[in-house]
């Protein structure tokens, strides 16, 4: 228990609320096109901190619906084109507020199903980019909506398996280099479809365990620097494979805590860097997976608080 404390819960909450209302900064300019994912990171973080009720729920919900298009898909913000990743973020936000019943889910699921190609892969939007991230987004979205029946799950799984590499990791398309972010997506997709038995879990687990560096942090690929976002992507993959004990969690907790900004709140990618909501979410999610008593527990595949997944 001691290894987590003290987590400045109020400070992080203040940071997140401030970031949520920022619409004037340079950072806002650079991230405005994916504001809906920003909302998901912020709101999930606040929920993990037991502070979701401090947000302006109705205003946020009506803004989310204003990002939805005729096709059923959501854009990253008002006036942004629809895509799968933004659609997932929208659905996750609605799930957090337990307001999925207000969603025209038939439209959303038909949008998602329309993006599956004959080889089982998913396009990110109508323009045709294929990436294993989109497979995870589609499968997770449909799992939340309990409508996996509308896609060819067997083919989707075949595509994920075709992204498996020599080292047990996964890439963005068949043959692309293993990357922890993609490993998370592929393991997540296999987990949600009860297909983890298809891979050599020991090999994948070993590659993931080798992501931990001497400073306790995790990296995304061999010979890369540690980064807090992998405290989620690598860690949740290990959790889905039931191998959390293959790395040193105390050292990882230490690393994440070092990345906190103890003056202004929030968590950065690396100690002494500037915090942002993206890394704040991944840091808190990692701490939650490791059992931090001040946080709600998060589900490794759904990336939502456990209590939401019933």
């Amino acid at each position: 228990m001691d290894r987590f404390t003290p987590l400045p819960v109020d400070l992080h909450q203040q940071y997140l609320c401030k970031a949520q209302n920022d619409t004037k900064s340079w950072e806002y300019f650079l991230t405005a096109h994916k504001r809906i994912s920003g909302a998901y990171w912020t709101l999930t973080s606040l929920d993990l901190l037991h502070a979701l009720e401090t947000t302006d729920e109705n205003a946020i919900i009506s803004w989310i619906f204003s990002c939805q298009h005729e096709s059923g898909g959501f854009g990253g913000n008002v006036d942004q084109d629809p895509n799968l990743l933004s659609t997932l973020s929208a659905v996750q936000c609605l799930a957090l507020y337990r307001r999925l019943d207000e969603l025209d889910s038939e439209k959303v699921i038909s949008y998602i199903a329309s993006l599956q190609l004959s080889d089982g892969s998913f396009m990110g939007d109508v323009w045709g980019e294929v990436d294993s991230r989109f497979t995870y987004a589609a499968i997770l979205c449909l799992s939340i909506l309990k409508r996996l029946d509308v896609i060819r799950v067997d083919k989707a799984v075949e595509f994920v398996i075709s992204c498996l590499n020599f080292d047990g990791g996964f890439g963005c398309i068949p043959g692309a280099e293993s990357h922890s972010g993609q490993v998370f997506c592929c393991i997540g997709a296999l987990y949600l479809t009860d297909s983890l038995y298809r891979i050599d879990q020991e090999l994948t687990g070993w590659w993931l365990a080798e992501r931990q560096l001497k400073n306790g942090g995790l990296n995304g690929r061999p010979d890369k620097k540690a980064d807090v976002c992998y405290s989620w992507w690598v860690l949740s993959s290990l959790a889905m494979l039931n191998k959390l004990d293959w790395i040193d969690s105390s050292k990882l907790i230490e690393f994440i805590l070092h990345c906190q900004d103890l003056e202004n709140g929030g968590i950065a990618d690396y100690p002494d860097d500037r915090s942002d909501v993206f890394h704040t979410f991944f840091g808190l999610a990692g701490l939650s997976l490791l059992g931090c008593p001040q946080l709600k527990r998060i589900h490794p595949a759904y990336a939502l608080p456990l209590e939401i997944i019933s």
Binding site: T23, K24, S25, W26, E27, Y28, F29, L30, A32, H33, K34, G75, G76, D79, Q80, D81, N83, D125, W127, G128, E129, I161, S162, L164, N165, F166, D167, G171, C172, I173, G175, A176, E177, S178, H179, D200, L203, G205, W207, A209, E210, Q212, K214, G216, R221, P222, D223, K224, K243, D245, W246, I247, D248, K251, D269, Y270, D272, D273, R274, D276
Partner: protein
């Protein structure tokens, strides 16, 4: 932001101006306004932020719209107009990528352009684009040899052309490995290319694997603590799983494995605390059924590499159960 300590942030009034500029650009997209004025507004925002994916989508619609317009031209003028169109689109993404080499949407826009060019233009023109594309990838990999966007783009370009990995591609990868033994990306692509290249040539594959064991040897003696070559080494020793069609060393010759064990012993004399040599030695000892020594190696590893103590405990337990 990744790796950002304190960046030179423009003053707030500039941020506000850019935010309203982006808003204006998105409004333009909604109106399907393809005037040169609209284009230059959109391009201005894209240069500031190449992640603005909807603006790239606008460009895609613009390209399709232009092609439809020039479709009925005489062949020569069609070609001229099309080249002008594609050149300026490629240039726009190139400018974005040199400044932001990890902008997904900018890479993806180039893929769209290549596919569209292949569909609409005569082969001598689009072949030129493909050739240039590989050169640009190589240049970007010179700047950052681990940029996975650059590597994946090379593969995507090959796919659009309908090409299988070639000996030239293997050569490209080999040069990258010799340039930097820690280039895990290059080792990865080697593991991808070899099985396809020698798919139906068992003897040649066998020779290639032996050459690779030599290559690995050079790498691990040069950079014994670097994991790149060690992961590749393990793959060569393990033989590929069913999802990769290949021949494993295990299938070929147990003598090779014994020779590799000797090489590891040699390295361990020089670097007795080399974790990776010990881990690989453990793997081979286990194959030879030498469980006592394998267990001793694991105990050493637990001390040398305490971060992964849990993993080594798992291996010990598993070995005890199977022996």
């Amino acid at each position: 932001m990744h790796g950002v300590r304190s960046y030179a942030e423009p003053p707030e009034e500039d941020s506000a101006r850019f935010i309203s500029l982006a808003k204006e650009a998105l409004e333009t997209c909604k109106q399907r306004d393809f005037s040169s004025q609209a284009l230059s507004l959109v391009n201005r925002v894209l240069e500031l932020n190449p992640d603005e994916y909807s603006l790239w989508n606008y460009h895609k619609r613009f390209v399709l719209n232009e092609i439809e317009k020039i479709m009925n031209y005489e062949p020569a003028s069609f070609q001229e107009a099309a080249e002008q169109l594609f050149d300026s689109e490629f240039e726009l993404t190139q400018r974005a990528l040199y400044r932001h080499p990890k902008a997904y949407s900018a890479w993806q826009h180039r893929i769209f352009l290549l596919k569209t060019a292949k569909y609409h233009l005569p082969s001598k023109i689009y072949e030129g684009y493909f050739k240039k594309e590989l050169e640009i990838c190589a240049k970007l990999l010179d700047l950052d040899d681990r940029n996975f966007h650059g590597w994946a783009h090379r593969m995507r370009v090959g796919d659009i052309r309908g090409l299988q990995p070639s000996r030239e591609e293997l050569q490209f990868v080999t040069e990258r490995i010799y340039g930097n033994f820690s280039n895990y990306s290059a080792w990865h692509h080697r593991s991808r290319i070899l099985p396809i290249l020698f798919k139906d040539q068992r003897d040649q594959y066998y020779l290639a694997v032996q050459e690779d064991l030599e290559l690995v040897k050079q790498a691990i003696f040069t950079e014994p603590e670097d994991q790149s070559a060690w992961f590749y080494f393990r793959w060569l020793l393990r033989g590929a799983p069913s999802y990769q069609t290949t021949v494993s060393v295990l299938d070929i010759d147990n003598e090779i494995l014994k020779k590799e064990l000797c090489i590891l012993e040699e390295l361990l004399t020089l670097e007795p605390k080399c974790k990776w040599a010990l881990l690989t030695k453990f793997y081979l000892l286990q194959i030879f059924g030498d469980f006592d020594n394998a267990e001793t190696v694991l105990t050493t590893l637990q001390k040398l590499d305490p971060l992964r103590n849990g993993y080594y405990m798992y291996l010990k337990e598993k070995m005890r159960r199977s022996s």
